[in-house]
């Protein structure tokens, strides 16, 4: 490797690391993007929890409902942030950055994986900010340091898998605008038809099977268990299965599509 070969070879790992670095650098240079991404779930947390608390948990305090719902707002923040990941991939495609990369002996995994890994750092910031605001309003960690770490890892795992789905759509979509509108609606449905806002039993019959299968429910319930205690095992397993499945299926589709574009 170190003896400079005649033709440079693509190494998926090294290339991904370089392009992850690029993503992180771009982010560091525009902190406003990171702030805006975190602002959306924080605004929703403030505006929705203030009135939902009394309806969803009559007799309970506002802090109780915040304690219950903060994981959902963190998960929603990550969910909708995958849209910007997809849009950034689309922008690279339109603006010619991809064409420039194509002149280099680069692994086709690297530009996509690099972007998604870099955005995982942004997701971490989002979860931290939402949780920080939540703690000011009544959210509490009651399950030790390991629980806190796991609380942060779960949504990042999910965000990584979902990002591949979004990127695959971004690479296949004919119109960025329609793709955005359709995905936005889909993500809204996923966020609401979950165990995030209300308990499973409070959802209507037709929505309960959807909520039970919904990855956001598992993310939120695992985060709750890690923060407050309770068994997280099944939820963690479901999140891991979703993340691995989404990455395998849509990662393959995305990378193939990316490699094929001429």
């Amino acid at each position: 490797m170190s003896t400079a070969p005649a033709t440079p070879r693509a190494s998926a790992w090294a290339d991904t690391a370089i392009l992850t670095g690029r993503g992180l650098l771009l982010m560091a240079r525009s902190p406003a993007t990171v702030t805006m991404t975190a602002a959306f779930p924080v605004i929703l947390l403030l505006l929705l929890s203030v009135s939902f608390a009394e309806i969803v948990m009559p007799g309970g305090s506002y802090a109780d409902y915040v304690n219950y719902s903060v994981p959902l707002f963190a998960a929603m923040g990550i969910t909708f942030a995958t849209l910007s990941t997809a849009n950034a991939v689309h922008a690279d495609r339109i603006a010619g950055f991809d064409d420039r990369l194509r002149t280099l002996p680069l692994s086709p995994v690297a530009p996509l994986a690099g972007r998604i890994i870099a955005d995982t750092a942004r997701n971490l910031a989002t979860v931290a900010i939402v949780t920080g605001v939540g703690m000011a309003l009544g959210f509490r960690f009651e399950n030790g340091l390991l629980g806190i770490v796991a609380y942060f890892v779960v949504p990042l795992l999910y965000g990584f898998g979902l990002a591949w789905l979004m990127v695959a759509v971004a690479l296949h979509a004919a119109s960025a605008e329609s793709a955005n509108a359709a995905l936005n609606a889909l993500l809204l449905v996923l966020s609401f038809l979950s165990t995030g806002f209300v308990r499973l039993a409070d959802l209507p019959g037709w929505a309960q099977p959807i909520a039970s299968a919904n990855p956001i429910s598992h993310v939120v319930d695992a985060m709750r268990a890690f923060a407050h205690g309770g068994s997280a095992g099944d939820h963690l397993l479901a999140v891991a299965a979703w993340a691995v499945g989404l990455t395998a299926v849509f990662g393959t589709l995305a990378v193939r599509r990316y490699a094929r574009r001429g």
């Binding site: 203030v50 609606a185 806002f197």
Partner: protein
């Protein structure tokens, strides 16, 4: 004016100019899927989601949530209409369309009214779809057809007020991304800190005066009073709603020429 083509000089006629620009706007919107989704599908999605999430908890507090929700999603759809207006305004201002129109002998303010006319056409479609869907799940006008017409007129009036405000925003900022962000920052608090989706009594005491008196709640009061709420006074609440609508229209009609005249 008449069909006899007189000299080469074309004359500006406000009505025909605004009407042809309205036609252009409606055609453009109908060809953009994202526009159709936000006009016809997204309000239905929101209605379904709020119904799913808050339906049972609200029934427990004794509120028929379908009846409660339809006016709310109608107002939300009017808000989507206004947001759409701001985005098109920003696109036209930044994309050169306004410059092109200025080089032609057309009535000065007709581009503004063209966008407004197109958006209100879209608003009519949104209202029709939402009321139709509402009827399928149990929404009913309890005061008869005349008040149902008043319902639609209040909603359309509020859409006009909202569109005018957001058109001013769109022309004043003239950058699509910024307009979307600013529009959203205005939209969320007004929509969610109101009695639209949740009754005012669910809010903490210190917030309740704001919730009850802000214009969106007043419009919702009126829409409910003329449709589902049999305990309220339809005439009185309607008057209050008309007052708010006229006030917003007057304010932004005064600002519109400035914002529009200054677009780059």
């Amino acid at each position: 004016m008449t069909s006899t083509a007189d000299t080469g000089r074309a004359r500006a006629s406000f009505a025909t100019d605004a009407l042809s620009l309205t036609g252009r706007h409606v055609r453009l919107m109908s060809r953009r899927p994202s526009s159709m989704i936000s006009a016809l599908v997204l309000p239905l999605v929101f209605a379904g989601l709020f119904l799913a999430v808050l339906g049972r908890p609200m029934e427990r507090t004794g509120v028929d949530y379908v009846q409660y929700l339809v006016p709310a999603v109608v107002i939300q759809a009017m808000f989507f209409t206004a947001i759409s207006a701001s985005i098109w305004a920003a696109e036209d201002a930044s994309g050169g369309m306004i410059d092109r129109l200025r080089s032609m002998p057309i009535s000065r303010m007709s581009p503004v009214f063209g966008l407004l006319g197109g958006e209100l056409t879209r608003a009519v479609a949104s209202i029709a779809v939402l009321i139709g869907a509402g009827y399928l799940v149990g929404f009913r006008f309890e005061h008869g057809p005349l008040w149902a017409v008043v319902f639609a007129l209040i909603a359309l009036g509020w859409a006009a007020a909202g569109c005018l405000a957001y058109l001013v925003l769109g022309f004043a900022i003239a950058k699509v991304e910024t307009v979307q962000v600013v529009g959203g920052l205005i939209y969320y608090p007004l929509l969610l800190v109101s009695n639209l989706f949740v009754p005012a009594r669910a809010f903490p005491d210190w917030l309740r005066p704001i919730v009850e008196n802000q214009p969106f709640s007043r419009i919702a009061d009126a829409l409910r009073a003329v449709s589902t709420d049999t305990t309220a006074d339809p005439a009185g609440t309607t008057l209050l709603a008309v007052g708010w609508t006229l006030a917003v229209i007057a304010l932004f009609a005064a600002l519109a020429p400035r914002a529009f005249g200054r677009t780059p």
